[in-house]
């Protein structure tokens, strides 16, 4: 994909983001009542005072105007202030990105390696016992609710066996590298297991498809080892179609692995989101949602770029 095409794709993403911001703005105003409702029953607040407050916050302006002002603030990086803490929304989110990225990177690396290995093995052994075992495991991974898997592991590994800490980023007081790693094991494993199930299925299907192609027969015929045929000729072709779904899963992590983080009290963006739910902290909620949507759109473009780099046929 040339630079011009990339620029074009990025420009085309802008109206999409605009549409998303419109949907999200409508969602905020879907809420019954408004921010001034808490004053409504207060006898000390006169209607005149109420009108003054509404005017000060621009709440008396027509909705389209409010949307325009909100959008302009969003674009200039002014995402407002958290209702709960009074701190800038951007700072609240940036602070939580660290743990989220840490958990996400580890989990996604494990998921990628595992699903490539399992996908290749299952495709090579198609229809045999190993393939059936892999499809059983992926079926379980697709069906098991993450929150329940997390609870069961917490019960078994922390409560019963005492092998791992049950929740949090680190122990209170001491935080060595080993301690942080121990805290990371369970959430990363749960997240990796749930994510790799879908990936493995995609990669297996892609590998089976690739192994049927003529160039694989040619590669074998010219005397290449099985290993070289599988890893150098079949695998790249199997990965190309899976990249879109992998990129989407990666992007959705930016807005936090909401459930995994909630179960393991992992202080990432997902936990920030759930905490903000309790305080109805709309500026934070909208900030996370906008960031997450932008990440998904960028990931889509990135996936197309990578696919074009891997597959010359997609470059036209």
């Amino acid at each position: 994909m040339s630079g011009r095409v990339l620029l074009w794709r990025l420009l085309a993403a802008l109206p999409l983001l605009l549409g998303i911001s419109l949907v999200l703005f409508c969602v905020i105003h879907l809420a019954p009542g408004g921010p001034l409702d808490i004053y409504a029953d207060n006898p000390a607040v006169t209607p005149a005072a109420l009108a003054r407050i509404a005017q000060a916050y621009g709440l008396d302006r027509p909705l389209p105007v409010q949307y325009g002002l909100w959008l302009r603030a969003m674009l200039t990086g002014d995402w407002g202030f958290s209702i709960r803490t009074g701190r800038p929304v951007v700072r609240e989110i940036v602070e939580r990105l660290g743990p989220t990225l840490q958990l996400g990177t580890v989990a996604m690396t494990i998921a990628f390696v595992a699903s490539v290995a399992l996908g290749v093995l299952a495709a090579v052994e198609e229809g045999r016992r190993l393939d059936r075992a892999v499809s059983m495991v992926t079926l379980v991974g697709l069906s098991i609710p993450v929150f329940w898997l997390g609870l069961v592991l917490q019960y078994l590994l922390s409560v019963r066996l005492g092998w791992l800490p049950s929740a949090g980023l680190e122990s209170i007081g001491g935080s060595s590298v080993g301690d942080r790693l121990a805290h990371l094991v369970m959430p990363a494993a749960v997240l990796a297991f749930a994510t790799s199930a879908g990936w493995t299925r995609y990669l297996r299907a892609g590998m089976i498809d690739a192994l049927r192609q003529d160039y694989i027969r040619t590669a074998y015929a010219k005397g290449l080892s099985t290993r070289a045929v599988l890893l150098r000729h079949a695998l790249p072709n199997a990965i190309v179609p899976a990249i879109s779904i992998i990129a989407l899963d990666l992007a959705s992590l930016i807005s936090g692995a909401v459930i995994t983080e909630a179960v393991f009290a992992w202080p990432g963006v997902g936990s920030l989101f759930v905490e903000s739910m309790d305080g109805r902290d709309y500026p934070v909620l909208m900030g996370v949602l906008m960031m997450g949507s932008a990440a998904v759109i960028l990931a889509n473009i990135a996936a197309d770029l990578i696919q074009a780099a891997l597959d010359p046929r997609l470059r036209s």
Binding site: G19, V23, S143, W148, Y155, F273, S293
Partner: protein
């Protein structure tokens, strides 16, 4: 392959059928009501006994009855959510695919927007604002998961629009609505069935995740997700409260996925 396809379909349908039967019949034949409190047992969860096969919760309510009543809510939200989502998705997809042009463009951009917003956070925000009843939850969940079926139906309609039998029907003077409903959609039935099955699993999972986080079905109505949510503080001292609801969610979604796999293999040939 044939036997495996049938096996996964059969096992899936059997398990899901058993769940439905237990949810429908169970609360009728149980000696307890789902919100009936035994005054003698209030205070702490009690372990399973002959009178209460799966024990009682801290409010002295029979856990087995609550599980079966919760199954009614979870399964109906799952099935209804998937039905509404598939119906709406089919409508949007058929409209976009058959009308083409500006209509198609606008509807597909709408699905792009819906697909780009992170699903769980969005539904959490809305559910948190309106504290939904089960019926509203169905609408909310369907509003999130209709996009895949819309895309599938649109693709099918576009490819079948130019088929000879459609041209023949049009030449006979059949109207556009009748062409889509009577001639095109029946040919897409397999693909629609597969996406409907996936939607059932997705809807049950979304409901349970929402309820688990405390923003779905509200007490005193039980659902499997909310039972799991309420059992979390008792994970260590009363595991009989948290193991069954999670297992039921897992097994139900497993059954739905088995049906989906079976249907997909059948339509793939």
């Amino acid at each position: 392959m044939t036997s495996r396809r049938r096996t996964s379909l059969r096992v899936g349908v059997g398990v899901l059928g058993a769940m439905l039967a237990a949810a429908v019949v169970g609360p009728l034949i149980s000696p307890y009501a789902f919100d009936e409190q035994s005054l003698a047992l209030i205070g702490l969860p009690r372990a399973p006994s002959l009178a209460h096969w799966l024990g009682t919760d801290e409010l002295g309510r029979d856990e087995l009855t609550r599980l079966m009543a919760g199954g009614r809510i979870s399964l109906s939200i799952g099935l209804a959510g998937a039905a509404v989502a598939t119906g709406f998705g089919t409508f949007v997809g058929a409209l976009a695919g058959y009308a083409g042009g500006v209509v198609d463009w606008a509807l597909m951009r709408l699905t792009d927007v819906m697909l780009s917003i992170p699903a769980l956070p969005l539904v959490l925000v809305v559910a948190g604002m309106i504290r939904p009843t089960p019926a509203l939850l169905v609408v909310l969940i369907a509003g999130l998961i209709w996009t895949p079926s819309a895309r599938i139906v649109r693709a099918q309609v576009r490819s079948l629009k130019a088929a000879d039998f459609v041209t023949a029907a049009r030449a006979l003077g059949v109207g556009p609505v009748a062409i889509v409903v009577r001639h095109i959609l029946p040919n897409a039935a397999g693909a629609i069935a597969v996406s409907a099955t996936i939607a059932v699993g997705g809807a049950i999972l979304l409901e349970s995740a929402l309820s688990f986080l405390g923003f779905g079905v509200q007490p005193p109505i039980p659902s499997w997700g909310s039972l799991l949510n309420k059992s979390e503080p008792w994970l260590v001292s009363a595991p009989w409260l948290s193991v069954p609801p999670g297992t039921l969610i897992f097994v139900t979604i497993l059954a739905v996925n088995l049906i989906g796999d079976g249907l997909r293999r059948r339509t793939a040939r």
